[in-house]
Amino acid sequence: MASALINVPARARRGDVIEIKTLISHVMETGYRRSQLGARLPRDIITLFVCTYNGTEVFRAELHPAIAANPFIVFSTVATESGTLAFHWTGDNGFSVTESARITVE
């Protein structure tokens, strides 16, 4: 179904600010469009994106229909320790995807 692409540097020095890019495939149907028959297409969007670093939340984004299809989010965090970055997207119609990436900090 949904597939996510994540770009996290594999290794970083302690204290460095690393940039993280995420992309997930999703239609982000706004709920304001109509089909050719005039029926309103129901809203179907991702409403929340959360990134945790070894279990601690470091970044969160609340999305609205004005985010383009296939939400692309770039943000940053401080490389504090080796471990796992977990990415979680939730949205309408029970949409829920979790991805993770490993990072080595030296």
Binding site: Y32, R33, V58, A66, A69, F75, T77, V78
Partner: protein
């Protein structure tokens, strides 16, 4: 000074009335927010706090061909320590069907108070970014964007 209504005045008045009639037909279904709606949305998110222009950097191209995907980046210069960091940056638009666009929330561990994404813009309009700092102050930036092909409102 009284005189009969000239042909030109009559046509102007008729045109204005016709325009009003058309406007009210369109207004049956509010397809877009207004600057007032944006102000309401901003108040809903940040409360009654005072917003000062400055400190926020809002990067949107001034001329956009396709409103369906517009790169947008926001950032604030901040040391991002526990004592002094940016809590959140909210983005709003004037004329999209819904004024809210996105809220980025940071902690002191974000390292840099900045984020980027791609947004939809329904019309040529003003985009506003408001940053919420840990000391409770609010800062804002605005950008005017000209959109050639609008997003959201066309059929499928």
């Amino acid at each position: 000074m009284s005189r009969r209504t000239s042909r030109r005045e009559f046509l102007l008045a008729a045109g204005a009335a016709g325009g009003l009639g058309l406007a009210s037909v369109i207004a049956v279904e509010p397809a877009r927010a207004t600057p007032v709606a944006m102000e309401d949305a901003i108040r809903k998110v940040i409360g009654s706090a005072r917003v000062t222009p400055g400190r926020v950097k809002l990067d949107v191209p001034p001329l956009v061909e396709n409103g369906n995907t517009v790169p947008l980046a926001v950032s604030v210069e901040s040391p991002m320590t526990e004592a002094d960091h940016v809590r959140a940056i909210h983005v709003f638009t004037e004329k999209n069907p819904q004024p809210d666009v996105v809220s980025f929330r940071f902690g002191s561990r974000a390292g840099r108070a900045g984020a980027a994404t791609r947004v939809r813009l329904a019309d040529t309009q003003t985009v506003v970014a408001i940053a919420e700092l840990s000391d409770g102050s609010f800062w804002s930036a605005r950008a005017d964007v000209v959109v050639t092909l609008a997003a959201c409102l066309e059929g499928v």
